[in-house]
């Protein structure tokens, strides 16, 4: 499917000043002269053996590059999720507890605003004000959290805020509505009747049970985070899998695109499976 992309790799690679002969030779080396289905079968056969192919541009195997870059994307995704949950859970609880009052209305509108901000624009604005105007954090670039936790956190903070805002807004609404639903249950009334403090009821009884639907949402949202990471990596020049893929697309580097898309789809499916298994752990009534 990806081969339908207009533009010719070999042409791009050699530039405009080349003879037809050179083009044909290189095309034969890459196997691009054979019919598409043959190329696909060949790719698939090697894939089953764990060989993702070799980049047409850098002549490096694709898989190690994908894995190396995926680490960056994972750090970004996890950091965004942490940022989102840190903001969303307390706000959602506050909104549910103060339901119908001003605080609730404000948080509802704030959440809708959070859902409406384009993440790439938020990223640009954050770079602009925090890094360029105030000079607090490095604007772009990446340092791994594993290498240098302190500098790594600095480079990841702004991208995670940009990526995590929409998720925070979404999770906050979810926490609010599920918590309201849980608070109406009989066992909450029982807990209160026993004379437990409101704090205990809220945090140990209600919040724990409200978390199952929230978990569903988070599972689905990881996919959106991975997708959003593609854009945020571009904005902040993070060397993650998203930029790897985009560069592949810009340069018509087919093995890179095929390998990258396949890898992300695989990760996405594995995460969905893990979320399903987590339900069973959170809610013993669910059995597969």
């Amino acid at each position: 499917m990806i081969r339908l992309i207009p533009g010719d790799t070999v042409q791009l690679l050699l530039g405009t000043e080349t003879s037809q002969e050179q083009i044909d030779t290189l095309r034969r080396v890459f196997g691009l002269d054979r019919p598409l289905y043959e190329q696909f079968m060949d790719w698939f056969r090697r894939l089953v053996r764990g060989d993702f192919g070799t980049s047409l541009r850098t002549s490096r195997p694709v898989l190690p590059d994908i894995i190396a870059r995926f680490g960056v994307t994972v750090q970004l995704t996890v950091a965004s999720m942490v940022v989102a949950l840190l903001v969303a859970v307390p706000l959602g609880v506050a909104a549910a507890v103060n339901r119908g009052r001003i605080a609730d209305a404000i948080s509802r509108v704030t959440a809708l605003v959070g859902l409406s901000i384009p993440n790439f624009w938020l990223g640009t604005i954050l770079i602009l004000f925090v890094s360029l105007v105030l000079g607090w954090l490095p604007p772009i670039g990446f340092i791994s959290l594993l290498e240098n936790p302190w500098l790594g956190a600095q480079t990841l903070l702004l991208p995670s805020i940009a990526l995590g805002t929409a998720l925070a807004a979404f999770v906050m609404r979810m926490v609010r509505s599920t918590l309201l639903e849980v608070l109406r249950q009989d066992y909450i009334r029982t807990a209160r009747a026993k004379g437990l403090r409101e704090h205990t009821v809220l945090y140990t009884h209600a919040l724990k049970n409200a978390f199952i639907p929230v978990l569903t949402v988070i599972g689905v949202q990881i996919g959106h985070l991975l997708g959003g990471a593609v854009i945020i990596e571009e904005v902040f020049s993070l060397p993650g899998i998203g930029r790897f893929l985009l560069n592949g697309i810009y340069q018509r580097d087919y093995p890179v695109i095929q390998g990258g898309v396949l890898f992300v789809a695989m990760v996405f499916s594995i995460i969905n499976l893990m979320v399903d298994m987590l339900y069973a752990w959170f809610d013993p009534r669910i059995r597969y």
């Binding site: 809708l112 409406s116 384009p118 790439f120 959106h224 991975l226 959003g228």
Partner: protein
């Protein structure tokens, strides 16, 4: 992404209109009922006002924009906002306000057409899958599952990479990406509607499948589909902006908000204005649709209303 859950769909349809058909008087009464409730919903009304304002802006763009969107003022490149250029100018000296006003056409056009495409494609597939069940259902929904297996923006990027950047292709790509959500919604509603007495009665009268679907089932899907459509409009506009930002959506020199933001990043240290205003425009339009969708859901979905 925001959207009503499939489980709530049947409750909605039951309350909004129990019987199919109805005639004009019935429709008017239904609308009056809806309007009485919606008018009191501040969030929904605020959204409706923003959306109407944007639509009007895009319709009368050439009348209210101070300059044509492509007019170059070479003596005022990257100018800060001033009386002559209320929102400043970009790197070629084009008036940003005018480009934003004309850009609303692109955003709304892509949003409306792509979501209509998703709506038609998705609901048709969902209706058929839910109504006939069995092998048809299985085949159609597995295809939808495959589309769902990719993060939405990644799928859109992939399709755009394949088709090449153009405004028409952006509509097609976004339409395909959002079709599965409508298919799932329609299917889930049909599955429960199909068991209800009035559908059974219609079939007992010997009406054809097509007639049962069109006259008795489809009208009852209206409420959840309207809510879903509103939310999808907001995400579709965001997706178009993201694609254009990556250089895969509407190609320049068209004044697409996403591509305006993309070029402005190169000059952000010289002038921040071109990087700020188009983003604000996106946010306001998307917020309008989100507020409207939220308000509509309050009014049309009794299950959630009871919860609040």
């Amino acid at each position: 992404m925001p959207g009503s859950t499939p489980e709530s769909a049947t409750d909605v349809s039951r309350s909004v209109g129990d019987r199919a058909g109805g005639g004009r008087a019935h429709m008017a009464a239904r609308f009056a009922w809806f309007w009485r409730r919606f008018r009191r919903n501040h969030i929904g009304m605020a959204g409706a006002i923003i959306v109407v304002a944007c639509v009007v802006t895009s319709l009368v763009a050439s009348a209210i924009a101070p300059y044509p969107p492509d007019e170059v003022h070479s003596r005022a490149r990257l100018a800060a906002p001033r009386a002559e250029f209320p929102l400043g100018t970009d790197e070629l000296g084009r008036d940003i306000l005018s480009r934003i006003i004309f850009g609303s056409r692109i955003s709304l056009q892509v949003g409306v057409i792509s979501v209509s495409l998703a709506l038609l494609l998705g609901s048709a597939l969902g209706l058929v899958a839910g109504f006939f069940g069995g092998a048809t259902d299985n085949a159609l929904m597995r295809v939808m599952d495959v589309l769902f297996a990719f993060p939405a923006i990644l799928l859109a990027i992939g399709i755009m990479a394949m088709l090449g950047p153009s405004i028409t292709n952006a509509m097609i790509a976004i339409g395909i990406v959002y079709a599965p959500s409508f298919a799932r919604l329609a299917r889930a509603s049909v599955l429960s509607l199909k068991e209800m007495e009035f559908v059974e009665a219609a079939r007992a009268l010997g009406l054809s499948d097509l007639r049962v679907i069109a006259r008795h089932i489809a009208p009852n899907l209206m409420a959840p589909v309207i809510v879903q459509t509103t939310f999808n409009l907001s995400t579709a506009i965001l997706t178009e902006a993201s694609l254009s930002f990556l250089g895969l959506g509407t190609p320049p020199p068209a004044p697409s908000w996403g591509s305006m933001l993309s070029t402005s990043r190169r000059y952000v240290e010289l002038s921040a204005w071109p990087a700020i205003f188009p983003g604000l425009a996106i946010m306001i339009v998307v917020l309008g649709f989100n507020l409207l969708g939220d308000g509509l859901r309050d009014v049309l979905d009794p299950r959630l209303r009871a919860g609040d």
